[in-house]
Point group: C2
Chain length 234, copies 2
DNA sequence: CGTAGCCTTGAAGGTGATCAATGTTTGTGG
DNA sequence: CCACAAACATTGATCACCTTCAAGGCTACG
């Protein structure tokens, strides 16, 4: 894990994210006050659940997964963070926060590490920004809700729903959509709360039927209509 | 469903909620601008998923459940709102919001209905309040996360976890804690994503062993240590 | 070149869903 | 105030889906 201080290049990079679309150059510099860019290798841990939270993060490139382990030691993945997503920002307004989750890099990734002090000093002064953050949180909540609505549905629906939800919201629905995050079967299993074997059985069935195709960790949905149908099947 | 405009009595009632502990009388009046008190009977619907959201709500007394139905028609309960809880406040900063969930009264209940306009005009101006709302949202998220961490655990753990989470956060842990919301077995089933029959089998086992007792819809945890143990069992 | 992570397939077994039938409580209208 | 309907609670039998266990192959990387 290496870190380098912010430079103007990073500011440019941030401007591209929807979160900052109404933020001017000057404010953006404030919002990044005393921040660093963290470079993570595949499987590096960015922060660990139940440790003191002195920083929050913005994903710059690559991806991170947010996970938790159950009392019995099983791992549950709760969210995948693509570039532009916030990590641990929601707990920054607390008194002395601890991370509720563990963050792990998926593939080589970069994140901007911002101290809580900067959040309290600059982020909380910008109402527009806070509402934006709140909207992000609400979105994440909505995704979780639609996943939970499928608890009684068969495993295939859950996997389908996960894949559809991972598609970038900007993308229009068509065939041959590539899932923007390289997922292993284990990660899919941990995400829908199932076992690797079950995931494999269902997904290789789909591959055979030509609904999806996988090569080098990357999943491509080749028959989107069918996957959506499976997602909504009872 | 009857409604009456706000009066000073209501303002007093609101002051008791943690959400407004730093809010003065004058601001509180602004925050309630053109609001009404809604009286709901048991099973009355307050708002329906996917309809236009012109209002948000504060639970005054009783309780409401927030639910959603899956594509196959099954109902999933996502959250129980005790007095002081907000409903649909998180989507008020959107352009033209629709309710993501359906809200139904559990027992005779009262809620304060506040128009989106009031939210945009007064609520968003109060940073302290917004951060408070954000903290509420984060708390709700955390609860959902700890529930999701149990997906692979046996049903008994899920039920135990639900009961423990429903205990008022103010309450210290001891025996003979009464669950503040009157729950039916069906509601427990819809909440943990299971069937009524399975819930009954597990809970009557607990009754027999003396871990819980139920009378007239009210559940009392008589052996809290045991329930917590079950919650954490693998 | 060996280990670690990942993918795959098969067989056995269990947890909880479903179906069916019945009792109990609550609420509503005549 | 009673009768009837609707919602809620209970118990048993059967069965499906998915987990678990076991064994093996593949690829990447130090």
């Amino acid at each position: 894990m290496k870190s380098t201080p912010v430079n103007t290049g990073i500011i440019q990079e941030l401007k591209a994210f929807p979160l900052f679309k109404n933020t001017n150059q000057k404010s953006l510099e404030d919002l990044c006050f005393s921040s660093d860019v963290i470079l993570s290798r595949h499987r590096d841990t960015l922060f660990t659940a139940n440790t003191k939270a002195e920083y929050f993060y913005i994903v710059l490139s690559g991806a991170y997964k947010l996970s938790r382990s159950s009392p019995s030691g099983e791992i549950i993945i709760l969210h995948f963070c693509p570039p532009g997503d916030l990590m641990a920002a929601f707990i920054m307004s607390k008194e002395s926060p601890t991370y509720p989750l563990t963050s792990t890099a998926i593939g080589p990734s970069r994140a901007l590490r911002i101290p809580q002090k900067t959040y309290l000093k600059y982020w909380t002064q910008n109402i527009d920004l806070i509402l934006h953050v709140q909207r992000l949180l609400t979105e994440r909540m909505t995704t979780i809700h639609s996943q939970r609505a499928l608890t009684k549905s068969p495993l295939s629906s859950k996997i389908a729903s996960l894949l559809i939800n991972l598609i970038d919201k900007q993308t229009t629905i068509h065939d041959n959509i590539q899932i923007p995050i390289p997922l292993t079967r284990k990660e899919i299993a941990d995400s829908v709360g199932s076992s690797v074997e079950s995931i494999i059985r269902i997904m290789s069935e789909w591959s055979k039927k030509g609904y999806i195709s996988t090569s080098e960790q990357t999943i491509t949905i080749t028959n989107t209509a069918k996957i959506i149908e499976i997602m909504n099947a009872e």
